[in-house]
Amino acid sequence: MKICVLVKQIPGSEATFNVTPDGRWIQESGLPFEMNESDIYALEEALQIREKMGEGEVFVVTLGPDRCQKTIREALAKGADRAIHIKEEAPFCTDPLTIASVFTQVIREENPELVLSGLQSDDLGFGQTGVLIGEMLGMTTATLVVATEIQDEDIRVKRELEAGWFQWQTMKLPASLAIQSGLNTPRYPSLRGIMTARKKEIKDVSFNDLRNVDFLQSFKKLSIQHAEKHTEMIEGSVDEIVSKLVNVFKNEIRIN
């Protein structure tokens, strides 16, 4: 089975973000970059499916600037067979439809039976790319996937619903699945994996060459999130705090 995994590089979650003067992006200098969390699980799921089936190919596709090489090498070191790097320079596209249509052109040529992506990226947070690609390629789609079982012509997946509910569904292949974090235990690259990754193929293509639609949505301006509410801070010794809290509960919120 040929499996495509979409892997994205994002700024680390602990980072403090400053907006560029034009308001279109963040200042990247000094920021740590890493593989998007749910993409790590999507990659692991692909590697496990390949291992279970005893055959097949896993290739990753990454959109982003040169810095993404590090993340691509990491995916190859973990066991992906090869990679396609769609190169893009700032200012970055923030339109899910445009991004998906560029991915679609790359993936269509490869004709995979399965496309796996993380549920959403922690930077832009659209959570749409995998589903858009599935629709554009005429695949079945599922999101919030927490388990997969390959059957002959089908794939059976377990989806997380709201409030602790789950549901299995059987879908025709080819399929595009958006993977929820936590469904497996991602591996670390082995030393051998790191060595062989250097020899694996990374094919470069250009985002601008593939871009064939006009942007329909974009980030016009980024700004720092401000506190939404006035918070009354309760201070003092533990006893003072407790008596003030009791007063708030009884006289302000009126919990009785």
Partner: protein, 323 residues
């Protein structure tokens, strides 16, 4: 004809709470921008859902019943709703940003080649038109979104972006709509949904909630909080790490993969405030946060905040409230 079409989600025979919030948001935006609002119910018993929705102050309520929509599939729902949108041609289509919406609405966006602004938290009005905002970069930044081209814009709203309590009542007419949906479109066979653990309480109905996070430290400290909840008469809830650690069953979990709540009091003990938790409780009327870390993001949405050690405060608070 309506300018804003709100698409409802059917949650076990009633209107999903976040769909009600979307109706509330649509009424508010509609009033400010001079746009009329309509509603679409679809799936099994859509007519009953439409009858429920007709009590709100909107132009018209549409309902779509079709045997291929009785069970939810992304294949069927995306095809059907795309057809209704094309036929009605509204300026905007609103949804609550539920798990189901994430699953099928991007496919409508691809079918119609129109943008889907998802997880929107707020809007401003300029020249009679709304501009929408969403959170990005781990919710640390806010992005102003712009769209281009002609045709409907799809928008989903984050939980509690609008309050369902502000819905204006009225009386709307209902209209049946049809789509051309061949069974061959459905390439997905869903099984019956199931719950990981049976039982549990419906936290969404709770008036008072005491909720704990990682800051509770260890399982042995849980009874301290159970005692406090009992004294107040509150339900016990938690963030995901507490459930993942096995300290409480999953039906106590509040957040995007747990329950969504809006009690009169949400007392958050040792919860830092990851966005996945915040979306489940930010609609609470009064949020009281106690946390050792003064930089815990949850303080940003707190009405009352205490920087302190919950293990010291909880027993004394229980005692004082018991008196």
């Amino acid at each position: 004809m309506m300018d804003i079409l709100v698409v409802l989600e059917n949650k076990s025979g009633s209107i999903h709470r976040m769909s009600l919030e979307a109706i509330s948001g649509a009424q508010q935006i509609g009033e400010e921008c001079g746009l009329s609002v309509g509603i679409l119910a679809l799936g099994e018993n859509a007519s009953a859902l439409a009858a429920d929705a007709s009590q709100y102050s909107v132009e018209e309520v549409l309902y779509l019943e079709n045997e291929n929509l009785n069970s939810y599939t992304a294949d069927g729902y995306s095809a059907a709703v795309a057809q209704v949108i094309s036929a009605e041609n509204p300026h905007y289509v609103f949804f609550g940003h539920t798990y189901q919406i994430r699953d099928y609405v991007p496919r409508i966006s691809a079918k119609l080649k129109r943008p889907f602004l998802n997880d929107v938290v707020s809007y401003t009005v300029d020249g009679g038109k709304p501009t929408f905002y969403k959170q990005s970069f781990n919710s640390k930044l806010v992005s102003e979104l712009q769209t281009s081209g002609d045709g409907p814009v799809l928008v989903s709203f984050q939980s509690a972006a609008y309050s369902s309590e502000n819905i204006q009542n009225g009386s709307a007419s209902t209209r049946s709509v049809n789509v051309d949906l061949d069974a061959s479109v459905i390439k997905t066979t869903p099984e019956e949904p199931f719950q990981k653990e049976a039982g549990g309480v419906d936290l969404s109905k709770a008036d008072l909630i005491v909720s704990i996070g990682r800051g509770i430290g260890k399982e042995e400290n849980i009874p301290l909080v159970q005692e406090l909840a009992k004294v107040i008469g509150a339900e016990l809830a938690s963030s995901r790490p507490v459930v993942d650690s096995g300290w409480l069953p999953s039906h106590h979990q509040v957040g995007s993969s747990g329950q969504t709540v809006a009690p009169k009091l949400y007392l958050a003990l040792g919860i830092s405030g990851a966005i996945q938790h915040v979306v489940g409780m930010k609609g609470s009327k009064n949020i009281v946060v106690i946390n050792k870390d003064p930089d815990a993001p949850l303080f940003e949405i707190a009405d009352y905040g205490v920087v302190g050690d919950i293990l010291e405060i909880i027993p004394k608070l229980t005692e004082a409230l018991n008196g």
